[in-house]
Amino acid sequence: MSKRVGVEVSIACADAVGLCDVDVVAAYPITPQTHIVEHLSELVAEGHLDAEFVPVESEHSAMSACIGSAAAGARTFTSTSSQGYALMSEICYIASSLRLPMVMAVANRAISAPISIWNDHADLMFARDVGWIQLIGEYGQEVVDLIPIAFRIGEDKRVLLPVQVNLDGFTLSHVIEPIIMPEKAEIQKFLPPYKPQLRLDPENPVTMGPVGMPEVYTEARKAQDEALNNSKAVIQEVFDEFGKQFGRQYKLVETYKTEDAETIIFSMGSISQTAMSAVDHMRSQGKKVGVVRLRVFRPFPAKELFDAIKGAKNLVILDRVTAFNGGEISAPVALEIKSVLFDRKHHPKVGNFLVGLGGRDVTVQNFEEMVEKVAAAKDGELGPYQFINVRE
């Protein structure tokens, strides 16, 4: 029986990678992801983990090495953040287009300038379009559980895509939490050895990543699009399998006190824990408020999200990134949710708030303020988005 131990989430994340029998880790350290990579290099150096650790000279090289490794059929892991992700991004598109499963932990951090090592979702947002599956952990246990889950989803024959596990930098990556570390044998039962469908093999030569002439590019993109679309069902299936085996059940969309909620707060990541505290406080004052969080941002679970929010009159949608879109439309998360609502001819009052940028704290009071703002607003008063906690 596994027991709960107090451990830093980054260390636990690296240990979970170790439990998954990875073959290759290629990564470059960047705050706040550093402890994950450092600990993995320790595990390899001290002989606890039988894997190749490739200490590359940049994130661009890290992802390039990971692609080579995954193409050779090895179970592959890397990790990054923010600017590192930006440097890596050119190659990230290729990993998904070549349909190479691998797992990357992203310790979410703001993007410069000004230089900020602190947490927001700027990297998570720009990585929306690289064709990877994006999973989001809210607290330590989830991060640990999502690592084997991510490998199993990505390696599933019906998916074959790379998977990101997002965890908030510092507010999650650097906290010490009581975590149940699964037994190795249990993980091996859950995650069978990786059997690649196609791999680099001198006996059976293949070309990966050839030129796609105009005659084939559209078809290649359609095939990749289908793969990501179809992954949604597999993700829920793997969550269910994990739940059955380990007793911790995850869903594409997680809800908290939403059944009778008039106002629903929509958030992602560790900030949701504060949102739930705020809901408890507001509920104690008789206000009908709930929280909805996405566990999976790509593929975007529109149907499940709509079912979770359709009963509410007011929506408070958090975006943890500056949109730079001209100010006449909402920030990315709200834009996507509005598209879900539009397609279903549903028109609740929507307030879109930019919060928690570059490590700025978001308090229970901030949540109450946002809920009040939306409840009190008349039609059209809320605008496309507004900053919270900005000094005038």
Binding site: L100, L198, P205, V206, P210, E215, A220, A223
Partner: protein
């Protein structure tokens, strides 16, 4: 000539459009790109083989008489052979619209 590549349904593509039959570049009909066609004047040709050497697409093969013959399945009409021929035996002529 081999089947032209790439003209298939998205459902039939290999994973990540990997190429699993090595060397299939020879099936790619680069001749489709051609606007002008090189034609050799055998009266002038000295059979020196420069066109064979310079052609970037291995279009030329030597025939029984020692002349170099173009394969228009691959010839993309770049004109390098006509430029390099030391006796100006190759003329680029406009392809007919059909």
């Amino acid at each position: 000539m081999a089947k032209e590549t790439g003209i298939v349904s998205w459902k039939q593509l290999n994973l990540g459009i990997a190429i699993t039959d090595p060397g299939n570049a020879s099936q790619l009909k680069t001749g489709d790109w051609r606007a002008m066609r090189p034609v050799t004047d055998r009266e002038k040709c000295t059979k020196c083989g420069q066109c064979y050497v310079y052609c970037p697409d291995m279009v030329y093969t030597k025939d029984a008489e020692g002349y170099y013959v173009q394969n228009y399945y691959w010839c993309k009409g770049c004109g390098i052979c006509a430029k390099e021929c030391p006796v100006d035996a190759i003329t680029m002529i406009m392809e007919e619209v059909d």
